[in-house]
Symmetry: C2
Subunit: 81 residues, 2 copies
């Protein structure tokens, strides 16, 4: 049950990142996370905390809850390519 | 910044629990978490993972994203007092 949450969250992070045309390096840079950790999150290998979710959501310029449920639109103003 | 997220999440878990008239013991029982851990979460002393958020949301019978943003209505069917 929780496996699905972890994997779908990782897929969603990847979708949001790719929608913005960003590399994992760029998302890591914007979110202040380690690049390999971003990769682990996207592969569903690690369980993110709500703080990590917030860091990613802020970097992607979407709502924290959106990142957990859907990808939301590509970032408006905020961070562009 | 993240301090605020952790504390507001804790407050929201407490609000949702108290709205249902549950003790921490009951929420711990329903969510499969340790009672003292539920207390730590409510006091903003620990950073919950998305799996913990899911366990709490399921116990409270509300949407995971709702638990992160607002308390949502008291549980419908699902767990009653």
């Amino acid at each position: 049950m929780h496996r699905k949450l972890i994997e779908s969250f990782g897929i969603r992070v990847r979708q949001c990142r790719e929608k913005r045309g960003w590399s994992q390096e760029r998302l890591a840079e914007y979110s202040g996370l380690d690049r390999s950790y971003v990769g682990e999150i996207e592969r569903g290998r690690v369980i993110a905390s709500i703080v990590t979710v917030q860091k990613l959501a802020q970097a992607l310029n979407i709502d924290l809850a959106d990142l957990l449920t859907n990808c939301g639109p590509p970032s408006g103003p905020g961070r562009s390519n």
